[in-house]
Amino acid sequence: MSEPTCQIVIMELMATGDGRPPSVPIEVINAHLASCAACREEARELEGLGGLLDAQRRQIPSDDLWPMIAPRLKSKKAAAGEKTTLYYFILFGASLALYKLLELIPERRIDVAFKLIPIIIAVSLFAFLKENPFKINPRLGADTE
């Protein structure tokens, strides 16, 4: 086989660097490199460039945004729930205030059943909110964290 030119040797080095099979026997290329300083220099530069390119890693996009979205959704939901509950409690407070005003009317007859009204209102509120203030809830606050 005839001596390959510098251009062919460089092309072969680039091809083998890309992982393609050489079309010129490797011994012939090595023999050329041993005798040609310019090609040796070129080969060194190619090797350096190849190493630099190999060091690069493709950025893998993180599509899983749920861990960031979920807590924000939960906190928004909790805030909306708190606001609704606040309206119920305002209504509840107004009912109790009205009861107190009625209790203060001097002409009113003394009636034991009348005294049960605030308890009935409070029980109704907790039943409506589906809450039991006298029950220890181990999950309380776990959803909003």
Binding site: R109, I110, K115, F134, I136, G141
Partner: protein, 106 residues
Amino acid sequence: MNTNDIEVQTRVVLGQKYAFATAALILGIASFINFLGMEKGVLAIVFAWLALRSKPAPELRDRRVWGKAGMILGALQIVLIVTVLALNFDRISAVLDALMKLQEGK
């Protein structure tokens, strides 16, 4: 203090704050109720029972005496009121009758 300790501390503090929030609401409601002051005694017994019972775990260790004292004081107050009412039933009935007559006479 490591992360686990901070998490435990956060949960303990939150637990106490939830208890205070509940107590605030219940006492606020109780302030509108008047059963000769016995409603406060009943609440003391209920809160103490909730604090002292073994379920759900874990059982209360610190301030157990506080719970017991609250329960005893609440029960004592109820017993005292019922006893005073029972012992003075005739007099209280007379006072109530007098009040009713006074009201009707207006």
